[in-house]
């Protein structure tokens, strides 16, 4: 009888925890992070500008978030997803992150490898030269910063005040 009571209490407790946990998971669209839809990355508003920039970018039809920001192998992909997912959630929950989010050196390296994965033919030739290339410490995104998502894209379509330069 005693052990029966105990089991019932435990079952109720476990069920409650699972229920609340499950609700939180659904409410926060937790399932969406297991898929590949870029909209999931803008679930919280922090990545809104990056998502909007990507929609307007040249890579929009060629690559989604995960194609550049996760490694191109199954294990690596989910390891990076899990790590970044944890830290993004942590910083977003605690509110301790800069207004303009900046990529970490590790994630920059992931992106660099992704560029090279698809553009291998070109990057190999660049590496063979002696001014640019990975060995020289110059990343693709050092110059091609806006191909994925330019948050500053809005400027480019704006008439500039520069006409005064020509006015003499």
């Amino acid at each position: 009888m005693r052990s029966g009571n105990l089991t019932s209490v435990l079952a109720i407790l476990l069920g409650t925890a699972l229920g609340i946990g499950g609700y939180a998971f659904t409410y926060a669209k937790g399932y969406s992070y297991l898929l590949n839809d870029p909209a999931a990355c803008a679930n919280c508003h922090v990545m809104r500008a990056q998502y909007d920039g990507w929609i307007k970018s040249s890579h929009h039809n060629a690559a989604a978030c995960n194609d550049c920001h996760t490694p191109h192998n199954l294990l690596g992909k989910y390891a990076v997803k899990a790590t970044n997912g944890f830290f993004h959630s942590f910083y977003f929950t605690s509110g301790r992150y800069p207004d303009n989010v900046q990529i970490t050196p590790f994630d920059r390296d992931v992106v660099e490898s992704a560029c090279r994965h698809c553009h291998q033919a070109i990057t190999e030739e660049i590496d063979a030269g002696n001014t640019h290339g990975r060995a020289k410490g110059i990343a693709c995104t050092r110059c091609h910063i806006s191909v994925g998502h330019s948050e500053a894209a809005a400027f480019l379509s704006t008439p500039t005040f520069g006409s005064n330069h020509d006015k003499r």
Binding site: V9, Q102, G162, N164
Partner: protein, 478 residues
């Protein structure tokens, strides 16, 4: 007996541990759930109009009821925080009957006594301090020692919230009100002013759209656009939103003079925005603001031409507005609003510079300070050159013939204005680094040409053409 007790205790302890662990887990998950809920709520746009705003409401505190976040940031312009060259630093001041301020900004005249020689005979040589936040603009103007020179009411144009003042002074006609204030003396006009620059000066009270409310800018930009082939430019109808994010600042952060006889506040832009264009405009209008007591030169004064200098730089060329760096988007919960605590971008490098420049904050700060260090060095050389010219004229004005003296005095007018222009501009050369150094280089040359002229040196080549009409003689023709 003993065994039975142990057996009974074990499940109890197990039960207790499980309950505690489960409670912690449920507590944590619920806390997370509530946090997610709050974050989702933040991301919505909560806007409640609790007071009706119109063009008779100048008090920013009333606007602040509708826009509490923007108002809160606006109030923070009282903060005084310095950067390497930026001088918003609170210096203690003993309040007196005439000047009740308990803190003031540092005196630039004390930092660089050459300024007193440069502006000798003019009110600026009596009191000239570092700028402070928008919150102080009205007090700092009301209590400056320059008030002893009895300045015109036109000064108020940029040191107070003026929409209601103009409407009141002109019986509903802003232009008439502007003229009326220009005619008054400062002390008389000051009675109308209640607030420093406020919401109403840049925003339409109905739509919150940016708008220009200063007649002097409307006229100035119209004249400037005419030089570019755009006739009858109406800034409030024809400017893009991105342009307005600079133009509202340019209502005041520009150089100007008071056009006689009515002392109309005028922006000298009829020939363009380059320093030589501005000198040419003021020459044409025969502007002479004071005479230097030691040299007798007829002089003009430059005032904080941030807009003109910015427009010569690469940021303007790339379409980056004043507000992009000085009022960058800032996070308030899930909302992004523009930062109404207008101050140096060096105090907010992440939100300002790192929007476009993806380099570490320290690297970006060093880049800016390198530009400023170089400017500061050449600026000192230029000030020395100006001192040499002034001293040279002073000790030779009896010996030199009238033509030589006239040319030397003209040089002082030009090089003094050029140095003043780029020095009273608040960015230590950063707004347009190359143009800033070019101006200093040409100014140093102009000072030395003045000295040469004084001693009967030869007429310098390109003198008239390159200085008076830039581009005509030495720039490649398009």
């Amino acid at each position: 007996m003993t065994n039975g007790n142990v057996n009974q205790r074990r499940p109890r302890r197990f039960l207790l541990t499980t309950v505690v662990l489960a409670a912690i887990a449920v507590f944590a998950v619920t806390a997370l759930l509530i946090n997610i809920f709050e974050r989702k709520q933040e991301a919505r746009n909560p806007f409640y109009r609790v007071v009706e705003l119109n063009d008779t409401v100048s008090d920013p505190a009333v606007w602040g009821k509708d826009f509490p976040m923007q108002y809160d940031l606006y109030l923070r312009t009282v903060d005084q925080q310095r950067t390497k060259y930026g001088g918003s630093e609170a210096m203690p001041h003993s309040p007196t009957e005439a000047d009740p301020r308990s803190a003031v900004a540092r005196s630039k005249l004390e930092q660089d006594p050459r300024l007193k020689v440069m502006w000798a005979g003019y009110a600026f040589s009596k009191d000239y301090r570092e700028r402070r936040g928008h919150a102080y603009m009205l007090d700092d103007q009301t209590f400056t020692e320059r008030q002893q020179a009895n300045p015109p009411g036109a000064c108020l144009n940029c040191h107070a919230s003026m929409v209601t003042v103009y409407n009141q002074a002109g019986n509903g006609d802003m232009m008439k009100g502007f003229q009326a204030i220009n005619h008054m003396k400062y002390a008389e006009a000051r009675q109308f002013a209640k607030h420093p620059v406020a919401c109403i000066d840049c925003h339409d009270p109905q739509t919150m759209q940016l708008r220009v409310t200063r007649p002097a800018f409307m006229e100035g930009i119209k004249a400037l656009k005419a030089t570019q082939g755009v006739q009858n430019y109406d800034v409030n109808k024809m400017a893009t939103r991105q342009e307005m994010r600079s133009y509202v600042c340019a209502q005041c952060h520009v150089t100007y003079y008071f056009k006689p006889p009515e002392k109309t506040l005028t922006f000298p832009w009829t020939k363009g925005l380059q320093v030589e264009n501005i000198i040419a405009d003021e020459d044409e209008n025969k502007v002479k603001e004071w005479e230097h007591p030691d040299t007798g030169a007829p002089l003009i004064k430059a005032r904080h031409p941030e807009f003109e200098v910015w427009s010569m730089g690469v940021h303007a060329r790339s379409g980056v507005a004043c507000a992009d760096c000085h009022m960058p988007y800032t996070r308030m919960g899930g909302l992004k609003i523009s930062d109404h605590q207008v101050n140096s971008p060096l105090l907010k490098i992440n939100r300002s510079c790192q929007t476009c420049h993806h380099f570490p904050e320290e690297e970006l700060r060093e880049r800016v300070e390198e530009i400023q260090d170089r400017f500061f060095r050449l600026r000192n050389t230029a000030m020395d050159a100006l001192m040499d010219l002034i001293n040279d004229i002073k000790s030779n004005k009896e010996k030199a013939n009238p033509a030589q003296l006239a040319r030397a005095r003209d040089s002082q007018r030009r090089c003094g204005f050029m140095i003043d222009f780029i020095m009273s501009e608040n960015s230590m050369g950063f707004h347009a680094p190359q143009e800033a150094q070019r101006i200093l280089g040409d100014a140093i040359n102009q000072c030395r040409l003045g000295q040469l002229a004084l001693h009967g040196g030869p007429e310098p080549s390109h003198f008239a053409a390159s200085m008076a009409e830039p581009g005509k003689a030495d720039a490649p023709q398009k």
